[in-house]
């Protein structure tokens, strides 16, 4: 028995975000650091951990490469696993798909536990089965996923059909277990026609659709962990060439980390990411204020890396800075603090975007892509529901 579920997935270099259909960014969205490991089955044994869903055994999948045990977070650290990381190209990277399967599996097991199978889907199916004299298969629930996910704009709109590759690599039937939780087998399927793919950054234009004129040029700066995607939109349509320089959040973190080390503050990457937001370094009972260092590094990051890339993008697309009406920042590093400065402000200044307005699409710029993509999930889900009810009729 198939039970529809809607899910929006933003699988980024530093963080994975899973937004179920009935959730919001503030409530219901799962956020996980992208620190996956793959564990050899012969080395696996059950261990005590707080996050029992941090380890998943994929026992059936359309591709052999996806089978096996994946873990992450504190649970992953309990095992000697092989770290699986994303590259700057997602759709031709098997690790991206492995992580994707885990993401869906995790949502499925939580839905299983919440008792979705004891609610509408199972009750209705069981009732109609009895009325119609059909075998009652309500005990076996297969989650039928309607998913929208984001991929880099250069893959979404590039010469290679990365979207078709992604759909082909993910469509199919899956069976998974979370052995640290129970022996229950969770089943789900992904169908090509209900797997929507939108461009990171570009999907932000859904939020601006009523605010931009058809001839307005907008510069999107999606600063991820591995790459910063730069793109220009005319109205709501992608315009010309895009750029994806590999100077992004990780570069900023490395530079800030180095600058802090010069003044005697030795922090992990995770701690530095936090310091970039707050401007503070934990130092015993009282936090140390390093906001001036963070401000300086943000300024230098734009001057040394982004400014020339943006100028080049404008040149390649035969535009000048005066034609840019909007600058749309996306990504965690774009969140500005009153003390730690604003990368988008430096972009405006250094690139002379004197006619541009800043369009912030979310309170937390980390979640622009997943929030805007969820609009498409809702629309796809509606379509899937309609199809399901027509089939039932």
């Amino acid at each position: 028995m198939y039970c529809l579920r809607g899910l929006t997935i933003d699988n980024g270099g530093s963080e994975v975000r899973l937004l179920p259909l009935d959730g919001t960014v503030k409530e219901g969205m799962q956020k996980m650091l992208n620190d996956f490991v793959r564990i050899d089955r012969k080395n696996f044994r059950v261990k005590e951990t707080d996050d029992k869903f941090g380890l998943c055994d994929i026992i059936k999948a359309p591709k052999q490469d996806y089978l096996g045990i994946l873990a992450r977070g504190t649970t992953g650290k309990l095992y000697n696993g092989e770290s699986i990381v994303l590259s700057n190209t997602k759709t031709n990277n098997v690790n991206y798909y492995r992580q994707f399967v885990y993401d869906v599996a995790r949502d499925a097991v939580l839905a299983h536990i919440k008792g979705v199978q004891e609610n509408d889907c199972v009750k209705k199916k069981s009732f109609f089965s009895k009325v119609l004299g059909l075998p009652d298969e309500s005990n076996e629930v297969i989650f039928d996923y309607v998913i929208t996910t984001c991929i880099p704009i250069k893959e979404h709109s590039g010469a290679n059909d990365c979207v078709a590759m992604l759909k082909g690599n993910l469509a199919g039937e899956y069976e998974v277990k979370f052995p640290l939780y129970s022996e229950d087998i969770i089943k789900f399927r992904i169908r090509k026609e209900y797997l929507g793919v939108v461009p990171e950054g570009g999907v932000a234009m859904t939020g601006l659709r009523k605010e931009v004129g058809p001839d307005d040029f907008s510069l999107l700066v999606d600063m991820g962990h591995v790459t910063t995607d730069l793109s220009i939109f005319k109205g709501t349509t992608l315009y010309g060439k895009v750029a994806s320089p590999q100077w992004a959040g990780a570069t900023l973190i490395a530079n800030v980390r180095s600058a802090l080390a010069d003044v005697g503050c030795f922090l992990s990457e995770e701690e530095v990411a936090n310091t970039i937001q707050t401007g503070l370094v934990p130092d015993g009972k009282k936090d140390k204020d390093v906001s001036s260092i963070v401000r300086e590094q943000k300024k230098m990051f734009v001057q040394n890396y982004l400014k020339s890339e943006i100028k080049q993008l404008l040149n390649v697309n035969a535009l000048n800075e005066n034609q840019i009406r909007n600058v749309v920042p996306i990504g965690a590093p774009m969140n500005s603090g009153s003390k730690t400065g604003s990368i988008v402000q430096h972009i405006i200044n250094d690139c002379s975007f004197e006619n541009a307005e800043v369009k912030r699409l979310s309170e937390d710029l980390r979640y622009v892509n997943v929030e805007q993509a969820s609009v498409f999930t809702k629309l796809l889900y509606k379509k899937a529901e309609q199809e399901a009810s027509e089939q039932t009729a």
Binding site: M205, T206, I348, E354, R360, L361, S374, F376, L379
Partner: protein
């Protein structure tokens, strides 16, 4: 004598970037050379003189060169150090969480449905 003087395309295109203390001299030099050149002209066709109209255009350009504030902007930019940038207050747009809006159907999305593959 009629003098037909055509302003080079490059000059017309980039005239706003030429400092105002250079432009008049440049144009006068062009006129002078043209007139002096035609003095030795052996062409059977005498250039027609629309001197009043042509010179009016030139004087108009000269006048614009002296009055235009664009030249002031160019001069100011040249004088500023490349390491300086102007701190301007950019008013950020009020945040609207648009994904929470109730979108009923794909028609409302219009061309944006092309984003979904």
């Amino acid at each position: 004598m009629e003098v037909l003087l055509s302003i080079p395309d490059d000059l017309v295109k980039y005239i706003e970037y030429i400092p105002d203390d250079v432009l008049p001299e440049l144009l006068i030099d062009m006129v002078k050379r043209d007139i002096l050149g035609r003095h030795d002209c052996n062409s059977r066709d005498e250039p027609s003189i629309k001197s009043q109209q042509d010179l009016s255009k030139i004087f108009e350009l000269l006048q614009q060169a002296q009055d235009s504030s664009r030249f002031n902007t160019v001069q100011q930019t040249q004088q500023n150090s490349v390491n300086e940038f102007i701190e301007t207050e950019i008013e950020e747009q009020e945040t609207v969480i648009l994904s929470q809006l109730n979108i009923q159907d794909t028609e409302e999305m219009g061309d944006l449905m092309d984003l979904l593959k």
